[in-house]
């Protein structure tokens, strides 16, 4: 992978190379260079297949990380290209014209993370969460407990005891 990285850095301002396995590595690229890098990888370096497109919510740092996982079938190796986006408002250029399958991933990311991909086919249509109007659920500030409380009625009769309090009642109830 180091050979590939050395070639790429001549043309692209890449971050450090993270080699996870001999056949899997990651690089970070500024969003402005993503499209040209993907094209270069596809047309010059044999990374013809988009394996997946996914996101990570770095809530504390205030950004999303997109990972475009590219596969070179002949060389049997994968390169993950990472892009950091501002978290709010989160928007990214679409690549559906490079790989039509990207539209599906982008529609999923729109729904689960609230990241917009203007121009991507059907990007605003419901993907699997029909009629979802809340914070996108894969955002880390989505409060699962609040959601559960609002959506699922608590079962009657549920009650819990604090272990330390319960032990006091059982073992030394009189003492202050």
């Amino acid at each position: 992978m180091r050979d590939l990285y050395d070639r790429l850095t001549m043309a692209f301002p890449l971050g450090e190379l993270t080699e996870q396995r001999p056949d899997l590595a990651f690089v970070t690229v500024p969003r402005e260079q993503l499209r040209s890098l993907l094209l270069h990888l596809r047309d010059q370096e044999g990374f013809t297949h988009l394996v997946l497109l996914t996101a990570v919510d770095w809530l504390e740092e205030g950004h999303f990380q997109l990972t475009y996982l590219m596969n070179n079938r002949r060389a049997c190796r994968d390169l993950g290209v990472r892009v950091m986006l501002a978290r709010d408002p989160a928007s990214m250029e679409s690549i559906h014209d490079l790989w039509p399958t990207a539209a599906t991933y982008q529609r999923e990311l729109r729904e689960m993370f609230g990241i917009d991909f203007p121009g991507s086919p059907r990007v605003d249509e419901d993907f699997i969460l029909e009629g979802w109007i809340r914070t996108p659920p894969y955002r880390r500030d989505f409060d699962t407990l609040k959601f559960s409380d609002e959506v699922f009625a608590p079962r009657p009769g549920r009650a819990s005891s604090d272990p330390a309090e319960f032990m006091k009642q059982q073992l030394y109830p009189d003492k202050t």
């Binding site: 559960s148 699922f152 009769g157 819990s160 005891s161 330390a164 032990m167 073992l171």
Partner: protein, 602 residues
Amino acid sequence: MSLSDVLSPFSAWKNLFRDPVTIPDPLNDRPGAPRYRGFHQNDVDKCIGCGTCEAICQNAAIDMVAVAEIATKQGDSGLRPRIDYGRCCWCALCVDVCMTSSLSMSNEYKWVDHDPDAFCFIPGVDLKHWDSAELGYRRPEGHRLTGTERVPMGELEPEARADSFVEIVAGYDIEQAKLEADRCVSCGLCVATCPTHMAVPEYIATIRDGDYEQGVRLLYQTNPFSNVCGRVCTHRCETSCAARHEGDAIAIRWLKRHIIDQVPHDRIKQIAAEGRVSEPSRHQVAIIGAGPAGLTAAFDLAKAGHGVTVFEALPAPGGMMRYGIPEYRLPYDKLDEDVDVIRSMGVEIRCNTQVGKDVSIDQLREQHDTVLLAIGLHQGRSTRIPGSEHQDVVSAVELLRRITFGERFDVPTTVAVIGGGNVAMDIARSLARMQRQQHGQVGVTLVALEAEDLMLADREEIDEAREEGVVILPSRGPRRCLIERDAVAGLETVHCVSVFDDQGRFAPNYDDSDIQIHDAGLIVEAIGQAADHALLGESLTEALEWERNRIRIDADGRTSESWLWAAGDAVQGPDVITAVAAGHRIAASMMEAFAGTSAQTH
């Protein structure tokens, strides 16, 4: 058209004789993957009801509920998790965090019921057919959300400490303490085990938050001896710690010490005084003995506005904390700080004042509304073996007292210590230090009746004593002190086969064929202590109810005399923290007795 084109369709027919790849009965015959996160299993005997699963659950799917057949006991709340499958999202964080690995998930995932309440169940208690499933999600090896190893404590190396009384333990710095505090899951199982029920999870949380003043505030709610207990507490809380099941218990004692070490003494005084009743004292209380029991009661009573006078026979307050515990474990200035806070509450401590000699107990009774007897155990017991009446056969408590007095006495080059408890270790290690100072080498032999693994002293005391050069011989009973030309020359011991009989009574069994003689110019007996009740006088001794050789007290610490309470080692051992707990109880009981009565006018 070739021949193969004609025959190839028939080659598919060979599959007729193979097993089908489809599942014949897909509704019933389709097990989950080996590590599938299916329905929960809980080994309820392993579970300690710490509630960490409930705390981590993102959807509040878990309740901790009482279970009829499981009793609450030390280290086990008796509660067990009940899971609401209307809420569970199968994330398995409850399994990952479980402190005992009792909770897991089977690979079973099909459950149909018409009653929605059936899906709220207590795994392991409400029996299910997947309870014994072998497959399913278990926490992977090495995958732990809480740290398993205690942050090591800095200690002086044996070479650096063996000839000095400088404190051995360094105490955690802020970074170390935060790391250690981070391991605590705040379950609170330890609180019941602490005799005075300190707010352990809450004060540990103040370390994480860096709010040490709040930490001190919490410590003082239950314990005015945090400098002392942060160093020498028997820390039984740590035996109930949830972390000890799959790792080291949280260093609760060291964290307590860390809090008190961080806040300046004057600020501690201000915090301890918060909530102090400022009206002039109403009732007058006399307390005999300035040890942990007496001074804790004094602190509570004075803080509540009562007049408290403590009568102490020895030159300085602290009792066994000063005159028993060696300085290398508890520096005197740290004890002084705790006592100073108590004094600042308005407690008067009269040292060098022996009740029964300088003032009579009848006088105390006349001049005060109530009296607390907290005299401790300051008389050493003797083995009464032949030769033990010689003047160079002495008790450990007496010798420890003389060391605290600062007496410079000559320690012979060889010493024998009889006893295997912490007091024996204290005197052996103290004399070893003095020998090293005076002679440049150690010659202390300690003989204990118990076998190595049954010795009463803390393991670290035994190990550290050995590191400092003390020779410890377990399973040896003392037979006689050898006296040559009026001087102690040695101790004769015999192999002890067993200490207790079948009924658990103390009845040592010796092997007379195995006798050893240990050179000793001084023999120290450390086999237990007794209280000196002479101060009571004859009529009070007669009037009081006794339980063997202890004064009988009720749960509040009241004796059979309505004006007299008793607490501490003399009535109820064995340690500082138990005495502190008793002190609080006595103060509460006295104030209850004061309620509705007018104070005596003095």
